[in-house]
Structures are given as structure tokens and as C-alpha cells.
């Protein structure tokens, strides 16, 4: 978005002009500022190093070993973990398939619902604030275990959903206990939590100048054309932002798959998504080396996907400041 560009250039300008000026003054001040800066940063910095950076690098090393969590250090096995993953492990490909299925179905659906509801709620009407809060509520519950359990109960063979369907003479399916349907049930849970992108869409919609719509309606554009030619292009940076965020979010699906799949990714591995497979490998089977390799492949894949998004984004994301990129 706009905000990310301008400060960066600003900073570059400042550095080129002001720093030499400061150097002529007392160097002590700068150093003192620097120390103070790092001192204030240190809680975060230490946390980042100890909790994130060092374990991450360590896991990179582990991915080349066969460490089993028990012996002090595994043996170095070179690329064996990586080779095995791609050539000998059907469970790996199954987890890729389930995760990609989830992401490909859930992300666009969730964004579409979020945008639709945001448009309904963007006009000032009575009670719209309450409605927004209500629609946002499911997202506050986040990836909670309790929610997944409720979902499981609702959609089970004798659950409320099937009881409801029975009123209309429809025989319900075992939504959570049949490999054919369970992924759909989980997708639905993910889509239902559309509050976060909805709020961002709401903010984006407010930014679109009213005059554009007025001018368009004077020119005789119907509501579909207004949506297609005003709302979508004006909103494209926000859509892009939501798309990247929600895609990454979808790939990280764990809690709902873990709970609804009974902890093992059942029935028949239909819910054994990538992160769950990683967890089961690492902490269920104690194959930390292999799990680390899985984690790194995952990181690279998601990173790569994000790069692809940014590259293709050029062709459909329009920035209103006329920044030709």
C-alpha cells in the first residue's frame, strides 16, 4: 500500500542529507542515542533471538540429521530427509494435497464472504455497529479448540445440522466422520471466521471517494458495473493485502484439523494437513530431524508463494496515488 512506500524513501533522503551533518557535531550523542535505542529494543531483540531466530537456525541444522529427540545429537544424514520427503513419503504428498485443497477453497471463499458482508455493512444504517461486532465475533474466538469441538458436535451424524436438515426431509451426511465431507466441514469453519478481512475491507471501502459512484451513476452505470469498475480496482490493494495474509493463514491451519480429525488427521488422513503431519512426525514419532526438514520445506513453499503473489500483484493491484510500478 501507499504507506509502505513513502516512509522508506523519506528515510533514505534523511540518511543522505542529515548524517554527515551530525558527524560534524559530537559523536557521543549519536552513540548514546544508539545505545538507548538498542536498550529499548533489547526485550524484543532478546526474545526474537532466543525464541525465534536461534531455534529456527537450529532446526535448519537438525533437518540434516536424524535426531530422535532422545539421543544427544542425531547423525548428520545430508539431504536424506529432503530426498525421502519428495520420493518415498506418500504421507507427505497427502498432507500437501489436503493443505492445498483447504487453502485453495477456503481462502477465496472467505475473502468473498468478507467482502460481501463488508459491503452490506459499509452503508450507515441503524444498528450497523452492532451488526459489525456480531459478524466479527467468530474471528475473536480464533483457532480455539472449543470452537472446533462445537463444530464437531454440530456436524456429527446425530448433530444439530442434520436434525435441522431432517425437518426438510433431507437425510444428513456424517459431515465430520466421512473422509468425503470432513474437509468441507473444516473449510466452512474457516470461512465462518471471516471477521478480520471483513474489518479491513470495511476500512478500505470507506476510502473510496463517493464522487466516483455518483459520477458513474450519472453516466448510467448499474450496480454491477460500479462494483466491477470502481469498487474492485479501488479496493485492489486491500484485496491483495487480505489475500496474502489469508493465504498464509490458511496454510497454517492446525487447530480445527487437529480437533475435528481426532488428533490423528482422520478419517483416513483426510484432515492430516501439513502442520499436523509435521507435529505428528516430530512429537508423535519423535522424528525431529525429519520434522525440521518438513518445516523448512513449508517455510520455503509459503515464502515462494508470497513472492509469486507480489510479482503477479503488479498486474492487477492499482495504487490510487498513481505510483507506476
Amino acid at each position: 500500500m501507499v504507506a509502505t512506500d513513502t516512509p522508506a524513501t523519506d528515510l533514505r533522503d534523511r540518511r543522505s542529507t542529515r548524517i554527515p551533518a551530525k558527524r560534524r557535531g559530537s559523536g557521543v550523542n549519536t552513540r548514546r542515542e544508539m545505545v538507548a535505542g538498542y536498550a529499548f529494543l533489547s526485550p524484543w531483540l532478546i526474545g526474537f533471538m532466543v525464541i525465534t531466530a536461534i531455534p529456527m537456525l537450529y532446526s535448519f541444522y537438525l533437518s540434516f540429521t536424524n535426531w530422535d529427540l532422545i539421543s544427544n545429537a542425531g547423525q548428520y544424514v545430508g539431504f536424506r530427509n529432503y530426498v525421502r520427503m519428495f520420493t518415498q513419503d506418500p504421507a507427505f504428498w497427502n498432507s500437501v494435497r489436503t493443505t492445498v485443497t483447504y487453502a485453495v477453497v477456503a481462502t477465496p471463499l472467505k475473502l468473498a464472504v468478507a467482502l460481501g458482508v463488508a459491503m452490506l455493512l459499509s452503508r450507515p444504517r441503524r444498528g450497523v455497529g452492532t451488526a459489525r461486532a456480531l459478524f466479527y465475533l467468530p474471528s475473536l474466538l480464533g483457532g480455539s479448540v472449543a470452537l472446533a469441538l462445537v463444530w464437531q458436535a454440530l456436524f456429527s451424524r446425530a448433530g444439530a445440522i442434520n436434525a435441522f436438515l431432517a425437518w426438510f426431509g433431507i437425510t444428513g451426511k456424517p459431515w465430520v466422520n466421512d473422509p468425503q465431507y470432513v474437509m468441507g466441514t473444516i473449510v466452512l469453519l474457516g470461512v465462518w471466521q471471516f471477521g478480520a478481512p471483513m474489518v479491513i475491507f470495511l476500512a478500505g471501502l470507506k476510502q473510496i471517494p463517493r464522487e466516483l459512484y455518483e459520477a458513474a451513476s450519472v453516466d448510467g452505470a448499474g450496480s454491477w458495473r460500479q462494483f466491477r469498475h470502481i469498487t474492485l480496482p479501488s479496493l485492489s490493494p486491500v484485496i491483495f493485502f487480505n489475500l496474502v495474509l489469508e493465504t498464509i493463514h490458511s496454510f497454517q491451519i492446525f487447530t480445527s484439523a487437529y480437533v475435528i480429525g481426532g488428533g490423528q488427521g482422520g478419517p483416513v488422513d483426510a484432515t492430516k494437513v501439513y502442520t499436523l503431519y509435521l507435529y505428528l512426525t516430530g512429537f508423535g514419532e519423535s522424528r525431529i530431524g525429519y520434522a525440521s526438514a518438513l518445516a523448512w520445506v513449508f517455510l520455503l513453499a509459503v515464502g515462494l508463494l508470497t513472492v509469486v503473489f507480489f510479482r503477479t500483484g503488479r498486474f492487477w493491484v492499482h495504487y490510487s496515488d498513481g505510483d507506476e510500478r
Binding site: I70, R157, P174, N177, D178, G266, P267, V268, F283, G284
Partner: protein, 445 residues
Amino acid sequence: MRSVPTTGTPFSRRRLLSAAVAVGLGAALTACASSGPTEAPAPQVAAMETGPVELTIFWWGGDARAQLTHQVLALYTQKHPNVTFKETWQANAGYIDKLNTNLAANSAADIFQLDDNMLGGVAARNQTLDLSNYVAAKRIDITKLSSSLVDYGKVGGKQAAVPLAENTPGMVFNKTLLTSLGVEQPQIGWTWEHLISWAKDVSAKTNYKTYGTMDPSADYKALWVWLRQQGMDFYNGNKLGFSEADLTRWFQLWKDARDQKAAPPADIIHVANAGDVTKQLVVTGQAATSFMWSNQMPELAKSTKDTLGVVSYPGDPKGQWARAALYFAGNAKTTHPAVVVDVMNFFINDPDAGKILGTERGLPANTDIRTSVQNSLTDPNMKATVDFENQIAPKFGPAPNVPPNGQSSVRTLLITEAEKVQFGQLSPAAAAKEFMEQAALKLTA
């Protein structure tokens, strides 16, 4: 492990060695003399401590077990005021993951509960306290335990754990339902084919509201019993003890049962396959039988108003065996091995502890305590369980070896492959083939 213990000195900590006293050594020497001409090194056992000791203890189970275990520990503290306990317990799900993580982080409890699915793995990594010397020194008294039960706690020749209780595979059935339908109750010695044709009849009589039998094709213990009845075993050392053709026959047997509607559809079976006692079909009313361990019957009974009964699995009862229902194992890195061992001994051999524990974990391992507990039982379900075990005991086959490292993965794999057949994704033969291929990897990994 930093130091792999050799047979003679399981505890390399000098502190402990220096604490070893004549009592332990004396008893050990006698044991050594009786063990024949083998050059067994003098068992070295740590002395009982008198200073204040706090032990951590970790198990899985329900509220009832937590209460009973707590009472026994309190009783121990009463008799040994210097020893106190920090108790941690949780549900079965995730237990072994947590234990493994704690063991790896050197933060595991001094005493922890295991079952035969876990013991092989933990003991293979030398994370259990080697109890052999303590048994030899009579610090753990096994004279009142059946030898097959004690042997079922040995891994690689070492006494890796002590059995807390005994059980055996037991098919639980809904007595109330069968009586109201006017059908015969299952008997010891029915063939599997007979069970299935009987179940077909039950399903039809309930108009397919309650199916005749659970389909245990995903259940390793049912497969195990079935294999043993044919002179095979689940494991042969670190390998599978059966062939792809055998497994195909097993899957086919149950596919036919489902096709005849003797067993319920796949999604109903799936819920029970995870093993949660409260979701077993015999208590949810979706099937007339469930394949369990005998000691689980009283617990099952809590989830239903109907009266339950228990009988051996179909087929020749020689396929059944006296199984250590649960074990206590000591942490190999505990700093209080002597107290750990004494607490274990207390759980097994103390009459008062036995009275408190009852049959919650299974029949008491100590036969004297078993008799006295049996005579004082009031719960009809516990009585039925005991009667069943006494009835079947003379027909038991020999105990198998403790399943090897990798058992948990193989068990999960069996569920996955059996469900592929249940949901119609694979034929019995194709699923059996996949199982054999992947199980081989799990057992060598």
C-alpha cells in the same frame, strides 16, 4: 542417553553407589547365588533414603483413577512421612507425546505409568529404570505375581517396568438389548463367523438401529488375538509376525460383515476406532458389542443404563493372554531410585493399597490381594469382570513379547488402512499391501 548403562551398574551416579548398603548387597548376593553359573555381576541397588524426598508421578486416566491413586500415595506418605508426592495426571490422548517430550528434556516424573504400546519404545531408549537388580534383591517382591505377567514387563532381558494389574481382551456386549430381542448371548469359544452371522440377525431384529457387532478390523488387539488363534503373532521380534495374505483375509472377513450389515457403516465405526471409552458403540447404542480390554467393562458401564456383559473374543480362547494392564516404570534418571522402587512395591504388594485400588486398573497383579479384593467386591460389573477372567484364565495361551519400538505408529497405521477399506477407498488386498510396506518402514525407523 549420556551413559548407556551396562548390565552391572545401571546407576552410574557415584552418589547412589556410595549410598548402597549391606542390606541391598546382601540380598543381591543371595539372589546372585541362586541365579546359577552365569557370571551375573553383583546387583547394586540404592539404599532407602530417610531424608525428605519429593517424588513426581505421572499417569493417565479418569477421575476415579486419580482419586484412588491419590489415596494410595497419601497412605504411603502416612507410613513414610519423609516421602511426599507431586501428582500429575491427564487423559490418554497426548499422554505419550508429553511423556516423551519430558523425558527428552530431562523433566519427566520419577514414576510414570505405561502400557504395552509404550513400554517397548521407552525402554528401548534406556529411559526406564532397570529394575532387574531390585527384583533380584527382593526390593520389589514378585513372588505373588504370575511369572508370565512379570515377564511381560521385560524388554531386552531387563525388567523395565512392573505390572500394576492384569487384564485380557474382552468383548463387551449389551445384555439388556440382547435379552429384550430374545437372542442368545455371546459365549466363550464362538467362531468369528458365528459372531458375524449372529450379529446379522441382531441388526435385522433392531431394524438396523443397533448393529450386531462393532467392526474391529482397525483394532490391533482384535487382529492380534485372531492371529494368535492361528498360531501366529503380531510381532516376531522387530518384524511383523504375519503376511500380507493374512491381513487381507482379516480385512475381507470384516468387509463381508459390513456388506451383510452385521457391522455398522464406516463413519460410525470411525468414531469408535479412536478408542475413547465413552464413544464405544456398545454404550452409544450403535452396536451390540465392542472389542475392549476386560477391565474396561466397569468404566463402559458408567456411560450406559443398560447392563453389560463381557466374554472372550470369538475364536479359540488360547488366543487370549494375561496381559499387564498397565505398568509403573521408574525414570532412569531419577535421583531417588530406592524410593521409586519402594513406592512401586507398595502399589503391587501392600494389602491396604490393593484394597483401595480394587480393579480400577485391572485385576490386582498380586494373587493374594486379588483373592481378598475379589471377595469384597460389591460392584456387579467388577464382579462380572473378575468372574470372566477367572473363567478364562485356565485357557490362556502364553504371553507374547512386549511389542517393539514403533508399535504406536503401526497401531495408527492399522487404523488408517482398515478405514480405507471401511470407507471403500481400497480393496482389502490393496490396503493390506500398503500396510505391510509402511509398517516395515515404521519398525526400522
